[in-house]
């Protein structure tokens, strides 16, 4: 056991834990976060996805000792009480069935759109390929990503209009 400091969703936490512990258990059991979830513990399904340094990362196979940057979880992507456009698109498109995997779908989609705000269908499929859903909401997830991309683009153009004005 040793003291580990973790920054999660803007807040720093110091914890006395075994540094080899996968990040997921710390997020869920010590920091009381519910977004990232255990699906396989093998890095295969994506239910545990968080974003670190802009990269969608599988927290179930990430030892806490290797985390050097801020961890963003599903709880941390809404800003000023407003849902992230990806989350809003998920509601507008009514994506989830059971919803258990959707943390991984949303966080992986956000990481994709942060890098590529206007992905092609193929880019979406490939970026999302390893994020599994047993309710098979893939078709809706892809529609929602396109919807979110449009929303983000229109936010951007509004912002540039404001600047011009």
């Amino acid at each position: 056991m040793s003291n580990v400091t973790l920054k999660v969703n803007g807040k720093a936490h110091t914890l006395d834990i075994d540094p080899s512990t996968p990040l997921l258990y710390i997020l869920r059991n010590d920091l009381e976060l519910r977004g990232p979830r255990f699906g396989c513990g093998l890095g295969q399904c994506g239910a545990c996805t968080v974003i670190i340094n802009g990269v969608a990362t599988r927290s179930c196979i990430t030892p806490v000792s290797t985390v050097k940057s801020e961890v963003i979880t599903l709880e941390g992507i809404a800003k000023n009480g407003k849902l992230h456009p990806v989350q809003q698109a998920w509601i507008d498109e009514q994506v989830p069935q059971c919803g258990f995997c959707q943390n991984g779908q949303i966080m992986t989609a956000k990481a994709l759109l942060d890098k590529n705000s206007n992905p092609t269908d193929t880019q979406i499929r490939e970026a999302m390929a390893k994020t599994l859903c047993r309710c098979m909401t893939y078709y809706r997830v892809q529609l929602a990503i396109k919807r979110a991309a449009k929303a983000i683009a229109s936010l951007g153009s509004n912002r540039s209009k404001e600047v011009v004005a």
Partner: protein, 796 residues
């Protein structure tokens, strides 16, 4: 001191969130339900609530809510909002939203002033939880009727208050007004808020499904929310991370458990070397009984580590538990059936086959397929104060309560199950098992225990949908009419597990509990409305060598037998159409048009409507299959399949691309015409149908449980591949059809939709592959290697 455990704060927060303005706590303080349903003890003791000793002696803290009391179903609050208490669980198809639509319409209260509490055994009446696609079809009726009854009672109260007959009153959005004097008005909340209805309902045969008051339900034309698509209330908390799932519940003093499963099926526990885990921090206990072994630790990651590290000496059984997955179908074909349904015979199939112009024979095979939930099974059990509370996503929470009470030999009214959201529970999953394990361990340890299975455990040991073999023969007359069908289905389904039975859950089996008569299991015959004059349909069950403590234990998987049987039946109809050189849609329409004796629910007319609608929407070109394959690497084709489930009729058309070089199949487009009667929430229904089709597509293209002769070797997402984002169709068209001969009838019934769309999809894909390539695939799944091999063998 309060005598009984509070619902965890997080759970209460969820309940409060669902409740528009009134918290559960204050509701319980003020509502009639408290008195009606919790005569022995309050659910959530308030600061001042003491449980009288006499009440404890008289009974446990969790008596069943009485479904004969209107107060058990509906509570109207002073602020003119309503809470509905229903005994169902929502697996993610939005049934909770639909229940609110149906009940708010009958009650005449705005939809957004209602909430719905589901599936918690001591809070909600026992409607059995979920199963059989019956939420809307069956359970929706008592919900509608009790809401209509509440409206009637409220109108009666207003009539007395204003001294005018009920006919002189009008009700709108929970406000009753005197027609002649609109200044005279009263809200539901003013009439009943904080008071009980005290109305006793009746239920023929004491069956909750028959629950009714005096009032009649409204004609369809007067329903306002039914048919609209309000967004599902459970989705926002699922996308912002605020929902508390069963997997999230934490209690003070809670410990974590992991199972140690036998390494091979039927292994006997010889000894455990507890010193092997002595170095694990916070080790609470190694628990074992019979062949059941678990470790319990203060922290979750340590429980995982301990389960991996624990040295257990097992003795392998002397004989093979089962044939290997490669030998399975041969084994099944040669086995002597353990049970056989009475053959369903019409006409004289043998004579018709003997005199046929053309006879076609085919055999089909469908492997074991798993639930493999995205989250492994889990549950938390709290044993405090002589009661047991289990937090679980088990879709049949009432059964779990009954089973655990029996298993632990506790009075039923000292056990409750709090149903919470969880990973998809499409049938009999290991959520059942985890609930029992948590309760057993909690009782052993005397502290709240959270159990979660690991991925490999889940994929290998969860219940399986039964494997099937089929032998089918069909006869055409000289005109190409299908005149005989001889259909034999055989399922490896002996000792099929029920739900939550104290002598069949895995922990009971591992502890050596055995029932004297294993469940006989089931096979099934096709569901179609085809007029085939001579038919013989046989459904048989066979057994694998090992029936107890086996990872090939069968349990219901989203329409237990429908996808398998419909794969064979609708593939074969396509084979007959090809033999008759007929267009597959026209061939089916002809069989449907000829008429059959059984036409309950106008199923024949509705069947014709869905086949025609699907074909029109798809842009079906009338021609026989297969089409002439082109020269390129990508071969395209389309296939159709039709069936019904209960009274829900549907047709699926798949358009495929088959890669001649790799064998890869992409289902580029799916069309589904679906008639489930009165539609409650069209958008939620569309997504439910879509999810069902894609689940079935995964079963068609990828899913197969593989095993050697002693263990399941499909144990994670690599060894058990499924559909992924790469496989999503480019286009899905869903047509919600109302094929009733009198589509506007005021009593149009609502049928089930949770599973129907799984049935025809596999056959539609197989038929499309045949259309594209001329190669008939009779063995599921259609993974690349198998397709490529078949194409090569056929010289395509």
């Amino acid at each position: 001191m309060t005598a009984f455990t509070n619902i965890p704060k997080q759970v209460e927060e969820v309940l409060e969130k669902w409740n528009v303005t009134t918290s559960r706590r204050s509701f319980l303080k003020s509502s009639g339900l408290l008195v009606v349903s919790f005569t022995a003890a309050p659910l959530i003791p308030t600061a001042s609530a003491q449980v009288p000793a006499t009440a404890q002696a008289a009974g446990g803290p969790y008596p069943d809510p009485d479904f004969h009391q209107l107060d058990s179903w509906i509570v109207i609050h002073e602020d003119n909002t309503a809470t509905f208490y229903v005994g169902k669980t929502d697996l993610g198809q939005g049934t909770g939203t639909s229940f609110r639509q149906m009940m708010s319409d009958e009650l005449d209260i705005p939809f957004d002033k209602t909430t719905c509490i589901m599936g918690t055994t001591n809070l909600t009446v026992d409607q059995g939880g979920s199963g059989g696609s019956d939420a809307i079809q069956v359970d929706g009726w008592p919900m509608r009727r009790v809401a209509a009854e509440a409206r009637r009672v409220l109108l009666d109260m207003a009539s007395k208050r204003f001294g005018v007959p009920v006919d002189d009153l009008v009700v709108n959005d929970g406000v009753i007004t005197v027609k002649a004097d609109p200044t005279k008005k009263v809200t539901y909340g003013e009439l009943i808020g904080s008071k009980k209805f005290n109305v006793t309902l009746t239920a023929a045969n004491n069956n909750i499904d028959n629950t009714t008051g005096v009032a009649k339900v409204k004609p369809v034309q007067q329903l306002k929310m039914v048919g609209k698509s309000p967004q599902r209330y459970d989705i926002p908390p699922k996308v912002d991370g605020s929902l508390t799932w069963a997997v999230d519940v934490k209690l003070p003093g809670m410990v974590h458990a992991r199972n140690v499963k036998p390494p091979v099926a039927g292994a006997k526990l010889v000894s455990i070397d507890e010193s092997s885990v002595r170095n694990i921090p916070g080790l609470v206990k190694v628990v074992s009984k019979g062949n059941y072994v678990a470790v319990v630790c203060e922290r979750e990651e340590h429980a995982i580590q301990a389960a991996r590290q624990l040295k257990v000496n097992w003795e392998k059984p002397s004989t093979a538990a089962f044939p290997t997955s490669d030998d399975l179908f041969k084994f099944m074909r040669n086995a002597t059936p353990t049970s056989k349904r009475q053959p369903n015979v019409v006409g004289n199939p043998d004579a018709a086959l003997a005199n046929a112009a053309k006879v076609v024979e085919a055999e089909y095979e469908m492997p074991f397929q798993g639930h493999t939930a995205i989250s492994p099974a889990h549950a938390l059990a709290d044993p405090s104060n002589g009661q047991m509370t289990i937090y679980s996503n088990d879709m049949k929470s009432y059964g779990l309560r009954n089973g655990v009470a029996q298993f632990l030999e506790m009075p039923r009214d000292r056990v409750r199950v709090v149903w919470m959201d969880g990973p998809q529970a499409y049938g009999r999953t290991a959520a059942d098992d985890a609930g029992f394990e948590a309760a057993f361990l909690a009782k052993e340890i005397g502290r709240p225990v959270r159990v979660q299975w690991m991925r490999k455990e889940e994929t290998a040991w969860d219940t399986k949908g039964p494997a099937f073999t089929f032998k089918v023969r069909g006869a055409l007359d000289a005109q190409g009419n299908l005149v005989a069908l001889d259909f034999n289905a055989r399922a490896a389904d002996y000792n099929h597990l029920g739900y939550n039975e104290a002598d069949t859950v895995l922990i009971a089996q591992l502890m050596g509990r055995r029932r004297s008569m294993p469940a006989p299991g089931n096979a099934d015959i096709p569901s179609d409305m085809y007029a085939i004059p001579n038919r013989r349909m046989i459904a048989e069950v066979v057994s694998l060598p090992m029936i107890w403590e086996t990872p090939l234990r069968t349990g219901n998987l989203r329409d237990p037998n429908g996808p398998q049987v419909t794969f064979a039946a609708e593939s074969f109809i396509d084979e007959m159409a090809a033999a008759a050189e007929a267009d597959p849609v026209q061939f089916r329409l002809k069989l449907l048009s000829a008429g059959t004796t059984d036409d309950s629910g106008f199923r024949r007319a509705r069947s014709l409507a869905v086949v025609k609608t699907a074909a029109e929407t798809f842009g079906w070109d009338t021609r026989p299959s297969p089409k002439r394959p082109g020269n390129g690497n990508i071969l395209t084709g389309r296939g159709v399949a039709y069936t019904y489930r209960g009274q829900t009729v549907l047709t699926v058309i798949a358009e495929v691309e088959v890669n001649r070089k790799t064998g890869h199949v992409w289902v580029k487009r799916l069309v589904c015409a679906h008639d489930c009667g009165l539609v409650i929430n069209p958008e939620a229904l569309r997504r439910s149908i879509e999810g069902g089709m894609l689940h079935s597509l995964s079963r068609a293209l990828y899913e197969e449980v593989k095993f050697d002769s002693e263990k399941v070797t499909s144990e994670d997402w690599i060894t058990h591949p499924t559909l992924t984002h790469l496989d999503a169709p480019a286009k899905i068209d869903l047509l919600l059809v109302n094929g009733d001969p009198n589509p506007n009838r005021p009593d149009l019934p609502h049928y089930g939709a949770g599973e129907a769309s799984l049935k025809p999809t596999i056959a539609a894909v197989a038929n499309a592959i045949y259309d594209a390539t001329g190669v008939r695939l009779r063995r599921v799944p259609f993974r690349d290697a198998r397709v490529l091999e078949a194409l090569k063998a056929a010289g395509v």
